[in-house]
Symmetry: C2
Subunit: 153 residues, 2 copies
Amino acid sequence: MKLNARGLSIGQIADRTGLAVSAIRFYEDQGLVRPHRNAGGQRRYDRADIRRLSFVMIAQRLGFTLAEIRAQFAALPEGRTPTKADWSKISRRFGTELDDRIAGLTALRARLDKCIGCGCLSLKQCHLYNRQDTAADKGQGPRYLLGDSPDDP
Amino acid sequence: MKLNARGLSIGQIADRTGLAVSAIRFYEDQGLVRPHRNAGGQRRYDRADIRRLSFVMIAQRLGFTLAEIRAQFAALPEGRTPTKADWSKISRRFGTELDDRIAGLTALRARLDKCIGCGCLSLKQCHLYNRQDTAADKGQGPRYLLGDSPDDP
DNA sequence: GCTTGACCTCAACTATGGTTGAGGAATTAC
DNA sequence: GTAATTCCTCAACCATAGTTGAGGTCAAGC
């Protein structure tokens, strides 16, 4: 095996990360990784790119979209290889965001419980669906979502 | 306005639920609601369908896919209109499932914290990605996901 | 009875997150 | 030096969750 003229091939990266070659190319399209090219036009990756791609996998597992991950990656340094401190900072951001999401889900879960317990299914205004911060709510009054009409059985 | 010859039109259902007409038709394609047709071939809905569709909206908000919602709806009675008890039973199922998801996310969040704290970013075996119940894991040994090589800085 | 609005089907298009395959070029192995 | 891999780009396709528009029909108001 040759030394690849400095850098790992996409297949080697795929083996190291467990990602499919097609997924790695796709992530490049999405601006998540920027390999350089060798004389023949083939992609060559740094070792640091393995970390970058692994981080993508983890963040996806945590429920983040590629666009969100790309946005967070904007905080990584441009000129130099990210340090452990850079990665820790990003990890903490994801952690905070994840906390918010868990809190949101927990609140939603509590509302569901209230609905089950109080017969909300026939209430005029559903605790679960009204006055939420959904984009669709903007400019609209409360809707009768779980009740057919005010006195429905 | 005529009485619609027993049943609500799709436009009336859209007004009551806040859903787009196109979405309601799509949910029918997905097997989530089964309106009957009048003599002219137009869809006519029962009042109970409003509840059904509202439940779809709520379950989606809770993070469930249409396929999952359809699967849960299989527990609703075939011949008769679902009672409040039927809906409560389904709500509790979603609640339990939601609890599991929140617990899963919380566990993941804890692993992320461990990674941040212990310098996991350079560990051989990442707590966040190894030995998970992911389909991709099957038949494969542990991978060096967040570490480039055993002694990488 | 006719016009207007609501409804019909079907196909195409949106975004997200990729995979698959065609046809060809580069690299590696022997 | 040649054969086997691996890689390249580009286009098409998968699922999920719908929206949009074309072309045509049905229902309701006056």
